[in-house]
Symmetry: C2
Subunit: 309 residues, 2 copies
Amino acid sequence: MSASPSADTVFDRVAIIGFGNLGSSIARAVRKFGAVAEVVACDVDAAVLERARELGLADAYVTDPAAAVAGVDLVVICTPVGTYATIARMIAPHLAPGAVVTDVGSVKQAVIHAIRPHMPKGAVFVPGHPIAGSEKSGPDAGSGDLFEGRFWILTPESGTDPDAVTRITTLWARCGAIVETMSADYHDKVLAVTSHLPHLIAYTIVGTAFDLEGQEQRDVIRFSAGGFRDFTRLAGSSPEMWRDVFLNNRESVLEMLQRFTEDLTYLQRAIRWGEGDKLFELFARTRGVRRDVIEAKQSDPFPEGDSAD
Amino acid sequence: MSASPSADTVFDRVAIIGFGNLGSSIARAVRKFGAVAEVVACDVDAAVLERARELGLADAYVTDPAAAVAGVDLVVICTPVGTYATIARMIAPHLAPGAVVTDVGSVKQAVIHAIRPHMPKGAVFVPGHPIAGSEKSGPDAGSGDLFEGRFWILTPESGTDPDAVTRITTLWARCGAIVETMSADYHDKVLAVTSHLPHLIAYTIVGTAFDLEGQEQRDVIRFSAGGFRDFTRLAGSSPEMWRDVFLNNRESVLEMLQRFTEDLTYLQRAIRWGEGDKLFELFARTRGVRRDVIEAKQSDPFPEGDSAD
């Protein structure tokens, strides 16, 4: 069943469960960089799978996760986080001994709780999260270069087979990513600030503007280049994915949201009372952060595949 | 003093007061498109003026606004909005009969209140606001193509000399802009949503992240590609300019901020109580806004001159 791998491949055969933008990007990347010999594309949506077949992105196309994982030594779960427990339950009885399971979910503590109880003896779960993606959906939106120079975070629990962690590290590094390991708890805290809160705020402000009426709503679109536009990209991301993120990283998101609201209220009061010095002080302080982001090379114009703009 | 204009120029000689990114972009644009015969660069900062001279961006370089406007038929005020009343008072006695004064300020009602009382009989004030710019400062950051395809809003009061409005419209259209006319009141309401609130929120979240400590703060920068990065560009904008915007569009900003806060609190509650359907409903609704922005051609990757990323 599995092809004879070249000496260079890191895994023989991968099943990618969920073949949208991110899943198809992984398929493209592991093929482009010769990291896995064979790719099995799996998606419950027959139309997605058919499109993947038309694009020739995999070696096999399977709708049933249980069937997809048969005979593979690597499973990458790329579905919304809310589906993880169901998928783990479905695939567990069919995993080969020594198979490595990983994922790309934006939260990690909840993912570990959803998957670990189902893992059979001999299979290893290495939770992961690439800091790359796009608000665009479907296999057409993917790119084999998506992970070039981007961070890919792994959050293995203590006691996880170190060989499996090393192989996953090698795999994503081969695809161009900078692989980092940290605790799931720390990941969820940092990502609440760098990703979850920004998305929540972007969704909110776009919704607030959407509630304006008639000409005013149309003019918000027309004059969006003044700043609003930057939020619409985030607010165009997958609703399923982001609902699941917020439901599954509740504590960290609520904690950061509370801090944000306090800070916003402070500025609101300064505006109401005309306290220009307080506004200036904060605005001058945040300016340096932009410079730090650019120096950290995390501000490429299209790191999230937004090149169709 | 003034050069013999070609038949094609819209004005003979312009004084640009405030020669940073936007002022120098206007100098470059009016020269590139042959819209004005002569350019006088004016800035209170001698270093800025010296840099403009090194770059050869103008025909004359003057630190004193009163001296800069002598013999010009057009004045463009490009300083932070909080300086407008002072500048209007300084230049008023030296304006030639029939001179047209315009500006690029991000708020328009407060600007009219600051400038109109000082305008001498015979001079005409046409308030304006290009929806273009950049978080970068100084004459080096400017570009003659900055206004290509961007909106440029004029908010003349009723009774303003229509010839002056027509000439300003022709001028900025020549520089590539799409010129729109509306009331100052309506401008301030729409821009509160499309520009002022987004900047306030971006400043806030970057400040919130900045208050994290040690490794966590460093990791916010490193993993900023998850969404946070999009906010740092806005939060890198000029502190003086934005302080003045919020102090001078207080009512509209506070009104939109109140709506935003209510909407955010609604989502916060949904997250706390695990109400995924409420989250999904909003996230699905905002997705269409991104499509509208792209269709309105207001989502070019670098409309605000951010090409150095």
